[in-house]
Symmetry: C2
């Protein structure tokens, strides 16, 4: 709190994960953020990462995560560490007064997440998870369609799919298949997006019951490589999702209401960075004798100069600026969405563990 002029939020990054390259670029592209520091367990790794990613020479390079948190000029941290380390480092960051942008899956389970969120609450820092597609303007345009009682009407069903075909190296070595690092595997990685998409479609109402689909694929260490679930809302809405490391790159949301249908086939990462689309139809019916349809789907194109991950950094930084400069409270919407997503993740895990029994979500 202090100056009345908006200043750029200074980011520190914990770790040199691959995804940190994308976020570093996003911070650079965001008008209200700046890359201030990066820390790795090895200073040479931080140096090499900074160099190969074109970091400005003013960036502070640290040989530990703690050093980033101890830098008083760091306003906010982006944490792309393995999920098992999230609780430790997100809590430590909050306690040092750093705002927390946390990669997904946010935590191994909702108990851990609640510790993180409580720390952020206590310390008055903003929490947001790294679900980038939430910040694409296309998502807002889809939201407008889905909330329209005339064009869409009451929601009835949701089908979501996110998969990519991981190569042998990934399946052996990636942190997302290691039980000690990312025990949620494909469910935590690609499944996170499927669940968020299902919640998005349902206007963030939690399903009442979640039932995992039989026969998820696990690796020898027991980490999920492919799974699915059905989600059942109180009002009768039914959702299903399938997430996998073992199938071709596919990112589908299909949502059907009484009056309309929405399709998007690249919801997590748009086919093209600056121009994304989705298709809708409302009041579709047949011509005489059901020979063909009375209309074709409408393609909606949403252009953006700011990539979705930069939109995320901009939104996060704007909230941080509001807290720092104007004394506003942290925006609760973001940890709330994170927690709902994690609750459904937990329910899928519980259903798998209980032999595909229905599990109540609350």
């Amino acid at each position: 709190m202090g100056s009345s002029e908006p200043v750029k939020i200074r980011f520190g990054i914990l770790g040199c994960a691959d995804i940190a390259r994308k976020l570093s670029r996003a911070i650079k592209l965001s008008p209200n953020a700046t890359l201030h520091a990066i820390g790795s367990r090895s200073i040479t790794k931080a140096q090499s990462f900074a160099q190969s990613n074109g970091y400005p020479p003013t960036t502070k390079l640290y040989g530990s995560y703690d050093a980033v948190l101890d830098d008083p000029e760091v306003d906010a941290v982006y944490i792309p560490l393995p999920t098992s380390l999230h609780i430790q480092w997100a809590v430590a960051a909050a306690r040092k007064g750093k705002h927390v942008l946390l990669e997904k899956p946010a935590a191994l389970n909702v108990s851990e997440l609640d510790v993180i969120i409580a720390a952020c609450d206590e310390c008055g820092v903003q929490f947001m998870d790294g679900t980038m597609w939430m910040h694409h303007p296309r998502t807002l345009a889809m939201d407008h369609f889905l909330r329209d009682p005339h064009r869409f009407g009451p929601l009835k069903s949701i089908q979501v799919h996110f998969s990519f075909f991981a190569d042998d190296n990934f399946l052996k070595n990636d942190i997302r298949v290691k039980p000690e690092l990312d025990s949620l595997g494909a469910l935590g990685d690609v499944g996170w997006y499927c669940i968020r998409a299902s919640l998005f479609a349902a206007n963030y109402q939690l399903p009442k019951v979640v039932t995992a689909l039989k026969n998820p694929v696990k690796n020898k260490a027991g980490v999920i490589l492919s799974c699915g679930a059905s989600l059942h809302w109180e009002d009768g809405t039914v959702g299903t999702f399938h997430c996998s490391f073992l199938s071709h790159l596919t990112m589908d949301i299909s949502v059907v209401g009484t009056n309309g249908t929405l399709h998007v086939n690249d919801f997590v990462v748009p086919f093209e960075e600056k121009s994304a689309s989705f298709s809708t139809m409302s009041d579709g019916w047949f011509t005489d004798m059901d020979l063909e349809w009375n209309k074709k789907p409408t393609e909606h194109i949403v252009n953006t100069d700011l990539p979705q991950e930069a939109g995320m950094v901009k939104e996060f930084s704007s909230l941080v600026d509001g807290i720092k400069r104007l004394g506003l409270s942290p925006e609760k919407k973001w940890p709330t969405l994170t927690r709902k997503t994690q609750l459904v993740i937990d329910a899928v895990v519980a259903s798998i563990d209980r032999g595909f029994e229905p599990v109540e979500v609350y």
Copy 2:
């Protein structure tokens, strides 16, 4: 058996169902079929139907179904009667030596279907169900993609959705919501297509286990208005489908293999009668930093002069011609596909009845 010149197969139609309008037109459009007779329980209804559908004056109009079966000039019958009447009339037709084109759902359950198929076998007549989209050339083009080990690879997952939003009149009066006429409701009507599409995607391998999704919607009489299921194949392939009379018109198949993805959003009835499309992608991946995709989906357009239902009549008539004129045996492929579809229908019903327990299919 007799002449060596192909002659047009003479159709009799049992009943004046709405769908018989479409089939009457299809018979007219098919180069090897001709509309010979129509029978209704009321002769005036048959007359009125023939008139309003532009039947040629030579068409025989009968006041009973039996009269159609007793007409020695009728080669084949199309049976669009309510499902509960299929066993009676399909068997009667076969016993009179008439080839049988039977609307879907073929029967109330596989036991009834087996009686029908056995009668057709014994009497040496062709059996085919009325799943029109199987006969669109697009279906063959999709099949080529799905069987391609390079462009598609081993099948991993299938998601299918078919719904339409029925109005109050339909939900009160349509035969498809009456327990004594079509007790399978939405499962037998729209669900039939979802199941056939799932089997099509799986190259007609039966799933090993079927689990109905919780909370199907039924009307007061207990007829299903909306339901879904997950299908589990021996090789780990997972399918889900959702079928409904309560959601906007939507006809989606999404199939994902290791190397490719296929989408079609109008699989049952194409948006346009003479030009249908589907989209595929193979070997899709991200550009550097996962900023966007390395390609966009490919749209495949399949043009046809013959509407799919006329293609069905043509295929059926060609088989009948082979039997009549060349002494060939009936083609077993069609009753086999019907039976597999019905087996899965039965498994979904059983799973619902057993409280959504997994049901083995065999």
